[in-house]
């Protein structure tokens, strides 16, 4: 059984805009329809953790008022969007998929969300995810898993599973997710939608509940590459509230979308097509490479020799950073406080024991272990050194090629429950995505066909630091050639 995605009224930003500008629809009507669709479909999918009906209708009415008075409409006027529940919005719940933040109402709004709303987007609600964005299947959400709209016995991927599923099921035209080791691209691949990882520093992380601060990124999910380019253009840019956000100007990512790949040099890294890659995924990605060649791209075999060390490196660095970031959840300033503690130290321990789920505890433990006395050099420092080697692999490769094409994930969506008992097997679902986070480069996952069982397959395009424009151009060419 699958959800009938054909019922979706508006799939793209362009369709919404045209409908409102021509007077065929109002932003309020579009918001009502999207909310009705959530009511009807999301009982099964479970992509939303909370719905912000009042806020959505107030935003939509503002757009309708602007349209009535003949004002120019902002770029995302009336576009129904959903926000991963690790991004804060003042006065709306922000659980991060965790019991420890149940009932918390943050007093501030993430910069990326503020920019979306200022551009006219209508926020429908907050989207389900793995607890603190830790997971590759969405099964680590304290509020229950999301089901893949394309195959309800399958995971939607993670950690931004709700963000991918909400677009795939037609409940949102665009959503925001976050990606620390593949958490946008892998679910996009599993659910058959577009998911974009911007360069580190391109989008402000202010208001993102931190998992691993040197790796965390905010990025969009959409049905088309053009829409991903439009949304990134809105949310990107320097933010005084995030010292790691870049002052580089934000180009118009949609301007050269149609330029094509003629004359472009595109690298194919042997290490991403080795043992462990599903044969149907391989065939689909190789078909994409053939099409790029047909459209005039020069395909070059390349090597990223340290690839096999990426997952070990990632799980040292990400957990080390997480153990520090999650120290703030102690029952003092916000979130859950244990009722059964008479002293401060017992209150810390019990609040955390009661509030965190198994995977979060595992990562806090691993991160604390690798940072602890006697192990720092062997694990944490070592991983930072390997991170440089991995980054140098990409810098060397991008001296010769304009973009790199790989599978997004080694397999299509796996079954719910299939990997929940084996953390290491789950970590390996990120094998082709963690490298971009470690190196800080940008990337995108684009649907490129399906398996014999009808499961979506995604192809990943990786680009140089701050060269999202090229990634979008290649992605758009692949999409059009389908």
């Amino acid at each position: 059984m699958t959800v009938d995605t054909a019922k979706s009224t508006y799939a793209t930003i362009g369709e919404v805009r045209q409908a409102i500008e021509s007077g065929r629809a109002t932003a309020s009507g579009i918001a009502e329809a999207a909310l009705a669709r959530i009511d009807a479909e999301d009982g099964v999918i479970h992509s939303f953790l909370s719905v912000s009906r009042e806020r959505a209708m107030a935003s939509a009415e503002k757009i309708d008022a602007a349209a009535r008075s003949g004002n120019d409409l902002p770029p995302l006027a009336g576009v129904p969007v959903g926000i991963k529940d690790v991004l804060t919005i003042e006065g709306l719940p922000a659980t991060a998929g965790s019991k420890i933040l149940e009932g918390y109402l943050p007093p501030y709004t993430a910069t990326s969300v503020r920019k979306l709303e200022e551009a006219g987007a209508v926020v429908l609600g907050k989207l389900n995810c793995d607890e603190f964005a830790m997971g590759s299947s969405n099964e680590n959400s304290a509020y229950g898993p999301v089901k893949n709209p394309r195959a309800l016995d399958r995971v939607p991927g993670g950690s931004s599973g709700g963000s991918a599923a909400a677009v795939a099921a037609g409940m949102s035209v665009a959503t925001l997710g976050t990606d620390t080791g593949g958490s946008i691209r892998q679910p996009a691949s599993f659910c058959g939608v577009v998911g974009m990882l911007p360069t580190y520093g391109r989008v402000s992380r202010y208001g993102l509940i931190a998992f691993a601060s040197s790796l965390d990124r905010v990025g969009p999910f959409t049905n088309t590459v053009r829409d991903a380019a439009t949304v990134l253009g809105v949310i990107a840019g320097h933010d005084p509230l995030d010292a790691t956000s870049s002052p580089l100007p934000v180009p118009d990512y949609t301007a050269d979308l149609d330029r094509g790949v003629n004359g472009m040099k595109i690298g194919v890294p042997a290490e991403y097509f080795a043992e462990g890659l599903d044969q149907e995924v391989r065939a689909a990605v190789e078909a994409v490479i053939d099409r790029l060649k047909t459209h005039g791209a020069e395909i070059r075999p390349i090597s990223l020799p340290h690839t096999r060390y990426a997952v070990p490196t990632y799980y040292v660095l990400a957990t080390a950073e997480a153990s520090a970031n999650l120290a703030r959840f102690d029952g003092v300033r916000y979130g859950h406080r244990s009722a059964e503690a008479n002293t401060l130290s017992a209150m810390y321990r019990r609040s955390r024991e009661e509030g965190f789920g198994a995977e979060v505890k595992r990562r806090i433990m691993l991160g604390t272990y690798v940072l602890s006395a006697g192990y720092y050099d062997a694990y944490y420092k070592k991983a930072q050194q390997v991170r440089r080697l991995l980054t140098n692999d990409f810098i060397a490769a991008f001296a010769d090629v304009d973009a790199i094409v790989t599978p997004t994930a080694p397999t299509p969506a796996f079954k719910l429950g299939e990997k929940t008992d084996d953390p290491l097997a789950m970590y390996l679902a990120d094998i082709y995505t963690v490298t971009a986070n470690l190196a800080g480069i940008c990337g995108i996952s684009i649907p490129c066909g399906q398996s014999s069982e009808g499961l979506p397959i995604g192809v990943q395009i990786l680009g140089r630091h701050f060269d999202e424009a090229t990634v979008f151009q290649v992605g758009h060419a692949i999409e059009k050639a389908d």
Partner: protein
């Protein structure tokens, strides 16, 4: 190098991390940490003797991250305190700090 994580290690690290694991959680944690760290050991196949550690990628962008140290408004106290588990409106309240 093969590191073996023992139950005592798990208890020591849990204390550092302010976690209070049940004995069932401890048993599973010993198993999982050994499996993950066993896999992480692959990093040691690489000679990194002369490689500068890389904490974050901002250095590659080469931009100035420092801003002027100006006074600016912060979050409103009442909005922050509204989210606190226990407060008198001015301070966060916590259980007894000194144990005797």
């Amino acid at each position: 190098m093969t590191q073996t994580v023992t139950t005592e290690d798990v208890q020591r690290v849990a204390e550092l991390a302010s976690l209070e694991l049940t004995s069932e959680e401890e048993t599973r944690m010993v198993r999982d940490l050994n499996a993950i760290l066993g896999y992480v050991q692959h990093m040691n196949e690489l000679n990194t003797a002369n490689i500068e550690p890389m904490a974050q990628v901002g250095e590659l962008a080469g931009h100035e991250a420092l801003r002027p140290d100006d006074v600016a408004t912060s979050l409103r106290r009442d909005a922050v305190m509204a989210g606190a588990p226990e407060t008198d409106g001015v301070f966060f309240k916590v259980p007894k700090v000194i144990e005797r």
